[in-house]
Amino acid sequence: MTSPVWDYAPAPESSDVVSLRDTYGLYIGGRFVEPASGSYFKTINPATEEVLAAVPEASTEDVDAGVVAAQEGLERWTSAGAPARGKYLFRIARIMQERSRELAVLETMNGGKPIRESRDVDIPLAAAHFFYYAGWADKLEYAFAARRVEPVGVCAQIIPWNFPLLMLAWKIAPALAAGNTVVLKPAETTPLTALLFAEICEQAALPAGVVNIVTGGPETGTALVAHPRVDKVAFTGSTEVGKGIQRALAGTGTRLTLELGGKAANIVFEDASLDQAIEGVVNGIFFNQGHVCCAGSRLLVQEPVAERLLSKLKRRLETLRLGDPLDKNTDIGAINSRAQLERIQNLVGIGVEEGAELYQVDCELPARGFWFPPTVFTGVSQSHRIAREEIFGPVLSVMSFRTESEAVARANNTPYGLSAGVWTEKGSRILWMADRLRAGVVWANTFNRFDPASPFGGYKESGFGREGGRHGLEPYVRLS
């Protein structure tokens, strides 16, 4: 006797908890202000294509106002003293926890990620980041041996759309803990939680000008990076844009950290705990629809278990639930934007043309919004574009290997070097591999784990500088 298919009924998280304004201002000098540009753009819900709100398109003039406010904020922030700076950050962490549901729902509405992830990962980690760096604010002299520690000054921070509030926390928390002030530009498609964060700063009574939020597109970002009174730039995004920023800042002496793209190898050895490896592979590439710079987008599997692992993987993929991101049972939400969807579609098309074998879960895609089904390519060779380019979507390329050395050689054969995964039950093999993988983060028998105490950042063209941990303070201090 076989039971009928057990469809879980819709279990949507209520969006009542979020009250959106029709129009937002820029957050400059402790106030929401209208943009001098007078121009606004609409931000949508990528799962429904509904307009959520209008946000300002900050012009050069607006960016300048933000930088000036941040400069003025420096004085206030310095005079507050280190213990108070820490206490403000603790306050912010607490208010983020208090308003966690609101933040989670808004993050999901604006970005398309499943509520399960924004609720269980993004928002708690963002709050934890503030909590962690709050504690550093009055202990900086212990962070760097035998050095005098001073803030850098005004920090321009540009963040991506994949983890809007979490990336904001990664940027703002260490900067403020080290005594800097910031002008942050959220991504064009996901500005809303940053603006809600501005409200949180108000509730925390953070001194005016310490945090400034300017919304806009690439031109706003360019103006911010190029501003002569910016002392430090921190950027997370594509390698292409990162290189442009590095060029733009060449010779200026402005400090720079970059957290760029990746094409991580997730390497499964024949002796791995296969069911947990499957979870790691699934979490590695389908977490946040694969919109993750450190996604395990290349699965390298040792030949003796390749067939078995693939059949287990396909079976597991059948249980992934794609759909309404606000549904608490959704595993795969919406693609963040039409542009990103087109990029994914294009690269997947190229994968098929290049002769890789396509496997897609047979699932119904909602009629409205931007969607892409979980996709696995087998028969991929090292030279295929889908094995080399960052797709930034739910697309996994599978290759096999025979020996440890071959796995290392293939894993490192990329201009990127952000992360890598190793799955084996043999301890010495883990350490041997970890030594040789050219990546800033090596996850052994786990994947896509993040923590405020754990430094994160890339080798090679995945960028430079670390975020998280004591190391994450370094970009934001001047040592003498």
Partner: protein
């Protein structure tokens, strides 16, 4: 009068553990502190630089894989070799930049090697971390060599200025391709002779003399050079050089306070490793 005629040294490039003339056959005349002719120096070409990067890449892995203790001994051996040739080095620096401060420059350079020889096996302890993450995971961060460092040596401090950049880069386990002071290249080649007779593996340090405006742009844009120390880049060329370095997201290293662990970690990557803790 039958005074003995001195035998002059031919100053060559130091690439892949060999002293060679530029493949281009070019050289340039170098003046002493009073403006008179001092000696010729090899004028390295793009191709010499390319060969130097190839030599560095060939040995980078095994040099990086050496134990920290072992690397410390190699660095200390450099100090020993320099101390043994102290007078010669003072003569070289004096000839290049004048006698004032020459002996101090040499002594501080020797001590700089000793200083960093002692850091090799402490840098991970002082700058690494065991991170207390909120979950059942072991989480460790430790510095690793970046790979190949391009160093543009300062124009003055022909020996000490160079050593203060080279020694921390080697301390961090990197291989180096270095563009020497264009005005005062000879002490660097004398240093190369010390390196050659110490235990620094061939190819770990490659010293190029020549024209910086020929060499530095090639070094900055080279795809197999992972970081660029811009200590000796002229301010008016910094924008172009650093822009070229963006082609492969090179780390730009600027000198900080003299001597310290952060001078070493500037030439290193932090790697974080996670592993679950379970029975």
């Amino acid at each position: 009068m039958d005074t003995r005629l001195e035998v002059n040294k031919t100053y060559k490039l130091y690439v892949g553990g060999r002293f060679s003339r530029s493949e281009s056959g070019r050289s340039y005349a170098v003046s002493g502190p009073t403006g008179g002719f001092l000696a010729n120096a090899a004028r390295a070409s793009r191709k010499d630089l390319r060969d130097a990067v190839v030599a560095a890449r060939k040995v980078a892995g095994s040099w990086a894989g050496l134990s920290a203790y072992n690397r410390g001994q190699v660095l200390y051996r450099v100090a020993e070799m320099m101390e043994a040739r102290r007078d010669e080095l003072i003569d070289e620096v004096s000839a290049a930049e004048g006698g004032e401060g020459a002996s101090q420059q040499v002594e501080e350079a020797v001590d700089c090697w000793v200083y960093y020889a002692g850091w090799t096996d402490k840098i991970s302890q002082v700058t690494g971390a065991l991170n207390p993450v909120a979950g059942p995971y072991f989480n460790l961060t430790a510095p690793e060599p970046i790979g190949i460092i391009g160093i543009v040596a300062p124009e003055t401090g022909s020996l000490l200025g160079l050593v203060e950049r080279l020694a921390p880069a080697l301390c961090g386990g990197n291989a180096v391709v270095l563009a020497c002071s264009q005005a005062h290249p000879h002490p660097a080649i004398a240093l190369a002779e010390c390196l050659h007779t110490s235990d620094v593996p061939a190819g770990v340090v490659n010293l190029l003399t020549g024209f910086k405006d020929e060499l530095v742009p090639v070094l900055a844009s080279h795809g197999d050079v992972d970081a660029l120390d811009v200590s000796g880049v002229a301010p008016d060329t910094a924008a172009d050089v650093e822009a070229a370095a963006a082609s492969n997201v090179k780390r730009i290293v600027r000198p900080g306070p003299r001597l310290g662990p952060y001078e070493v970690t500037a030439f290193m990557e932090m790697k974080t490793v996670w592993h679950p803790k379970g029975a």
